[in-house]
Structures are given as structure tokens and as C-alpha cells.
Symmetry: C2
Subunit: 354 residues, 2 copies
């Protein structure tokens, strides 16, 4: 069984403005400690996946930055999509390229920007999922054991326990409201949808053929170019025509061979400044602080100000992100709306700030 990893790293993470920018997206920032999230995503695979079997699918802007952060990877394995087309074309492209190398390769598809605190448990679960996907030619997703009624995640309703931590998937459900999330948590039949997928190259390719025939036809146009100099021009000519659709909606919700491996390894998708606040060590007043900051009569804030002195007086539950060219002051319960700032900046053509 030959294992490959595909890391999807196309997003900007606009909810992390003003730290995340087109040229310094969320997964390339060192939000926690010294490494960026994409570096941690690669480093935790050490000894489990050969470096030459790690691929990253990204965009033109990020490709050079990723090569810089991850010099141990082969530059050819860092593939820039000509345009963003959601996750299904990305998955199709990776299965095409890896399938050409090894048709029964197990492909582990991971987001670039999550945290995992128990790496050993994560790798154990990966091995279980890889084995099951390889032997049974099925689609496997990682379902995370919920620890709270989180309304920020999609959920997986699980059915029969097949073996060890492998379950049949009944259905995927959208982000719930709080009362529904509490029911999900109490029932024990729902897991968080982590967006991590494990399947064989030939399995996913035939699923694409069945559920997304247009994408399948498009991918086949790239086939003659694999490994050849003309591949990039073929990609450039055809990829923009691929339908923009997520792998969840386009395949996972339609296929009848979907399974989940239940994991419990301290996973967090770090979806907003609120997640960063939760994951950062606090002082006695529950403030999480990075940089040159003085707090008076203030509690439960996240304050980031590495370059400039910041004083916070009489403030609670607020996120302050002070960067060289922009400042964000945001209520902790409104962090999802940080996107609106980026929308506004795009609308008024202030590209230098996004």
C-alpha cells in the first residue's frame, strides 16, 4: 500500500484579516508558536509519508511562499491551480496525478490550516483509515468526536460500527443551531466533519466519473500531459472550465460507499480569531496577549501587537489585531464578520490591504 498526502492550501482565510492577506494567507502565518499551520501539517506526517509523496495544491500567489516555507518538498509537488474551483476539481486533479504514478495509491487529503494536539493518535487513525480505504475501495472521511455543541462545524450522522473506529456514514448535515448541536452532542451519533478524506486514487476517480461526469471528462483532457512539459498549458486551458463545486456536495453526499473513522486527537480547524483566542494560553484575567501590550481593568481579550505598543483599558471580550498597516478591533462574538472588512476593502479597490 503506497500512501500519498494531498494538502489543500488555496484559501486566504479572510476571517484572519488583517494578519491574513492574499500574500500571507492564514495557513502560512505563525499564529501559534514558530511554525506556520502548513508547516505543522507537513511536519506531523514525518515518518508516516515519504516527502516525495506529499503534494500541495495551491494557487499562483502562494506557490512560491509555500516552496520557501517547505524546502524539503519537491517543487513539482506544489501545484498551482490556474484559478480557484472549490475542492472537487482539486481532488480530481490530485487523483489524476497520483493515480498515474500508482493507480491503487491511498490518497490522504488534508486541509492546510488545522491544529492537531495528539499527533500519535492522529497518525494511528490515519493508518486505520488508509487500511480500510485500501482494502474496501471506499471513501473515508475523518469524523471528530465532539467535545462541545459547536455551531461552527458541519456534522456527520454515523450508523453501524463496521470495525474498530470505522463507521458507516448515514448522512452529512450542515452547521446546526445551538439547540440542534446540543442534541447532536447528547445523541452520540454525530461527529464533526473535519474535511479530511482518505481513498484510493482509482476509487475516487471512478466516483468522480459517476457523480461529476463533466469534471471526469475535463480531467481526461489533462491525462496526455501528465509528467510532461505541456501539462501546465493544458491545465491553464482546461481547469477554468471545471465546475466549481465542493467534494462534500459533489461526491460525499451522493456516494453510497462513504465511511468515517472516528478520531479523538485534539482537532481544531482554527476557523476564526475566536478559535485562536481559545487555543492561546491566557493570563489570570483570561486575556491572551501577543506582543507589546498593557492591559488595565480588562478581561477575556485577544490582543496581538508585536510591532507597536498597545494599551487596553476597561475592555472585555474583544479581539485587537494591530499590524503595521491595519488595525482590527472586533467583538469576540462577531469574529465571523471580519470577512465583511475584506469584502469592503475589495469593493473600494484597496488591494494593498487584502
Amino acid at each position: 500500500m503506497e500512501k500519498f498526502v494531498v494538502i489543500m492550501a488555496g484559501g486566504v482565510g479572510s476571517r484572519f484579516w488583517p494578519r491574513s492577506r492574499k500574500t500571507s494567507p492564514k495557513q502560512l502565518l505563525n499564529i501559534f508558536g514558530e511554525n506556520s499551520m502548513i508547516q505543522d501539517t507537513v511536519y506531523r506526517l514525518h515518518g508516516f509519508i515519504k516527502p516525495e509523496n506529499i503534494f500541495i495544491i495551491t494557487n499562483k500567489v502562494q506557490k512560491a511562499l509555500i516552496e520557501e516555507q517547505l524546502p524539503e518538498l519537491q517543487p513539482d509537488n506544489i501545484i498551482a491551480e490556474p484559478v480557484g474551483r472549490n475542492t472537487a476539481p482539486c481532488v480530481g486533479l490530485s487523483s489524476l496525478i497520483i493515480g498515474e504514478k500508482c493507480s491503487d495509491a491511498v490518497i490522504i487529503t488534508l486541509p492546510a490550516d488545522h491544529l492537531i494536539s495528539d499527533e500519535k493518535s492522529f497518525l494511528n487513525s490515519l493508518e486505520v483509515a488508509a487500511q480500510y480505504a485500501y482494502s474496501n475501495k471506499v471513501l473515508v472521511t475523518f469524523g471528530i468526536q465532539p467535545t462541545r455543541p459547536d455551531t461552527g462545524y458541519g456534522y456527520i450522522n454515523i450508523g453501524e460500527n463496521i470495525e474498530r473506529s470505522v463507521y458507516k456514514v448515514n448522512r452529512f448535515v450542515e452547521k446546526p443551531d445551538l439547540s440542534t448541536a446540543i442534541k447532536y452532542l447528547d445523541s452520540g451519533d454525530y461527529l464533526w466533519n473535519s474535511g479530511m478524506f482518505i481513498w484510493r486514487a482509482d476509487t475516487i476517480y471512478s466516483e468522480i466519473k459517476q457523480h461529476l461526469p463533466n469534471l471526469y471528462d475535463g480531467l481526461n483532457k489533462l491525462l496526455p500531459g501528465i509528467g510532461k512539459p505541456e501539462f501546465n498549458s493544458l491545465l491553464k486551458a482546461n481547469f477554468p472550465n471545471f465546475e466549481s463545486i465542493s467534494v462534500d456536495y459533489g461526491i460525499m453526499e451522493k456516494s453510497d460507499k462513504v465511511f468515517t473513522v472516528k478520531g479523538d486527537f485534539g482537532w481544531n480547524d482554527v476557523g476564526s480569531w475566536e478559535s485562536v483566542y481559545e487555543l492561546t494560553i491566557k493570563d489570570s484575567a483570561d486575556n491572551a496577549v501577543v506582543g507589546d501590550v498593557f492591559l488595565s481593568d480588562s478581561s477575556s481579550n485577544y490582543v496581538y501587537s508585536p510591532d507597536k505598543f498597545t494599551a487596553v483599558v476597561g475592555i472585555e471580550n474583544v479581539v485587537v489585531i494591530n499590524t503595521p498597516d491595519s488595525l482590527l478591533v472586533c467583538s469576540r462574538d462577531k469574529v465571523q464578520n471580519v470577512r465583511r472588512v475584506v469584502d469592503h476593502l475589495n469593493k473600494i479597490n484597496r488591494e494593498n490591504l487584502v
Copy 2:
């Protein structure tokens, strides 16, 4: 009747950090419009006081800055105290210098950092006060007709109405709590203590002799140097020995010849960022904004960010002051505590930020 004005401009205004600094104190900032408050204080006397009769008492750091902002004043009239010694020595010094020019001169003593919206009414009140102080050889203070139960001002309890807007002063009272302030407002017998004083040079000098004999003796040591080159060295040698005491506590509360002229000319001492918020034009969500600012789902904030883009999301009743080297985020009801930031910075020897 020869009228003089003495503007007291020694303070830093640490509640206006991070805009106010030792080298850019509150009264020299253009917080409202194009002029600084000290410029407005001088300009509104135009046609009422001869420029050569306007004196400013300040400190060494501010003297050059004030000369720069007010080139129409005589540099010799801008006097730097060697050290700060509260208002009584400052008042003594001005009465000594002006009294030597004209012993029955009327001296109008004004803070450098207040706003007055009705200048005509202000000058009318000044004329009434000057006439009364000149003819009756008494101490006159401006009492402002209260418009709200403000707990940030000292109050004057007034007695008999002598003539026109002149009242006898019963007593001065400290900043009240809210219920007391409401009683004061309802009674009609209390005015805000504006810190503006009007008296003859000879009157205040004899009051100093009576109530602050040590200060009187000290001032007399300077007498031989008035108008001569050795004055500065005499000042430097003697001024630091003067008792540090306010004119309110040292003289006004003790003298039996204190009167007040009731004024109603839109006075505000601009004591904090909250005052600035109140005095600034608001948008439809009651936000007052200066600079490059985007607000989303936010109301009743004061945001100052002229040099850098600032986004405020889901925030209410907060002051944000974003300057090139420092940032303040402060609850509007905690603006008095901005001083603590300056105290902290002094304590840890970060002189460059105060």
C-alpha cells in the same frame, strides 16, 4: 483699566494619551479642527486684549512649541517655570510680573485647554468680571451655568446676586457623586468651577501675602530681577522652593472676597476622550470618526486613525486612538483611567511613549 491675560499651559493632559505627550501636550494638539486649543484660547481674545498683554506660563519643553504655534505673541511673554508647582505659584509669578508693569492691572487667568462655543457671550462675561474685579478689588471666578449633572467638575455654591451676573460665592465644593450633582443642578444654586479667574494684580498680591505668606516671601526675592537679564537665574534659584499648592485651595477657598460671574457660553474643559467624543459630530450610529476607518455593526464609538486603516466590528462605546507608535483601546466609561497607561509607561521607563 488695563487688561492682561495669563494662560496657564503647563500640563501634559495624560488622559489624552497616546495623542498627548510631553512634547505634544493636549493644549497644543488639533483635537477639533485646524487650531490647537491654546491657539483658540488666544484667538478668541482678539480685539479684547492687546497681544503684548497676553502672557503664557508653561514649562521648558513646551515653551518653544508654543512660540511656534503663536508667533504673534512676544517671546518674552511666554514664561517657562523651572519646575511645575501647581497653580498658586504660577498665579503669584504672573501677578508679580504684570503688577510691576501696572499695579492695578486686571489679570484674567485662563486654562489653555478649554472649548468655548459662544465667544461673544464669553467676552461679554469677561468684561463684566473685569469691571467688577477692578472697581471692587475682589477675586472673581467664572461659574458656568450647569446643563447636566456632571460629576467631573468641581462646583461653586453661590449666594446673593450682587449685580447683573455677579454673585457672592458661599463655598467651593469638590467633584460630587451623581445624586449630589443632580441635587446641585435642581437647586439652581450651584455653578461649575471653570478655573478661570479675574482680579487686579494688587488684589491677588495682597491675598497671597495674607493666605500664602511663604509664597509671598519667595515672590519678593524675584522682585529685583523683573525685566532684567538676571530674572531667569533668580527664577531658577527660587521657584523650586515655592510650595506646590493650587490657587483654589491656597486662596479662593480661604479668602472672604470671592465672587463669581455666572456665564453660559458653551464652556467645556475637554477633560477626557469622552469629552472629545461628546463634542465631535457623529454618524447615524453615533460613531465619531477621524481618519481611515471602517465600522461594521458598531455604534457610539470614537475612532481616531489618521495614518493607518482601522476596522471596527461589533463594538460599542469604545474609544480607539491609533497613532504611529501607540494604540489605545478604551471603554468610554473608563477614559479617566487612561492616566494609568501613562503611569505604567513612566514606571517602566519608556519615556519615548509618554
